[in-house]
């Protein structure tokens, strides 16, 4: 099924904006409503938009599944290892070892309302990014594989 030019061009124009908005939601997860899952889902919706708009082209070259799978593994490993790093640094599993250190994301925060500073939150922004990447890749992989399996001459996903 071939989509009309309007759909395809609009999708191409919208795609970067959707990605940027998703990245904003992920990065500001510790300050504003949102976070890794929500932002990741927004970004995945961009990928799905491309998938729908260009469904007549070869999906394999447009959205390579292997790269998405690698991104997913990377996100999960980043999440797991940033939690495990606390053990290596000598405290418990999942301890927030970056908070209040003054390093990356380590500015201390006072209690009470404030305008929001990006460089806070310790490992929370790191985990947000990890989860954002994971959700982006996971939802895209699911959508791409399901989409590809509906094509009549397709035997399925290669291993």
């Amino acid at each position: 099924m071939k989509q009309s030019n309007i759909v395809r061009i609009t999708a191409d124009i919208m795609f970067p904006f959707i990605m940027i908005f998703g990245a904003y939601v992920v990065l500001h997860g510790h300050l504003t409503p949102g976070g890794g899952f929500q932002g990741g889902a927004v970004m995945a919706s961009g990928v799905v938009l491309l998938l729908i708009a260009h469904c007549d082209k070869d999906i394999k070259t447009l959205i390579p599944t292997q790269i998405l799978k690698n991104v997913e593994t990377f996100g999960l490993l980043l999440f797991g290892l940033s939690a495990l790093a606390a053990v290596i640094l000598g405290s418990g599993f999942f301890t927030n070892w970056l908070v209040n250190t003054g390093l990356l994301f380590g500015t201390p925060v006072e209690y009470g309302p404030n305008p929001g500073y990006l460089n806070t939150g310790g490992v929370i922004p790191v985990m947000n990014i990890a989860v954002g990447l994971e959700v982006l890749a996971a939802l895209s992989v699911i959508a791409v594989i399901m989409f590809r399996s509906t094509e009549p001459d397709c035997g399925g996903e290669e291993q």
Binding site: G29, H30, L31, T32, P33, G34, G35, G36, E72, G75, L76, F79, G80, A83, F93, F94, N96, V99, N100, F105, G106, T107, P108, V109, E110, Y111, G112, N114, G116, T120, G121, G122, V123, I124, M127, N128, V131, E134, V135, A138, V141, I142, I145, M146, R148, S149, G155, G156, E157, E158, Q159
Partner: protein
Amino acid sequence: MNRKNGITVCIIAIIAVVLIYAQSGISFGDPVYQDMDQYFLLNGQVQTGGNNICTDVVFDFRAFDTLGEATVLFTAVMGVIVIFRRLMKGEEYEAE
């Protein structure tokens, strides 16, 4: 067929009565105990540095749940990949 419908209606009626009875024991907007959440609201910002207390709970106080949740998503992806995989030649399991 009619008997089966009767049983279904009975099951649904019992579940409905039980659930609606159960929710009447909790009052909306005025929880009895609030101490754990109050702790998060008072200390979350200082302990974790995040302004959004929900994210603090998700990624710090209950971060292990979040790892589990990411794992569930990963499991689903692996499941979908396995289900839609291309079988090898002559791979057959079910003798019928």
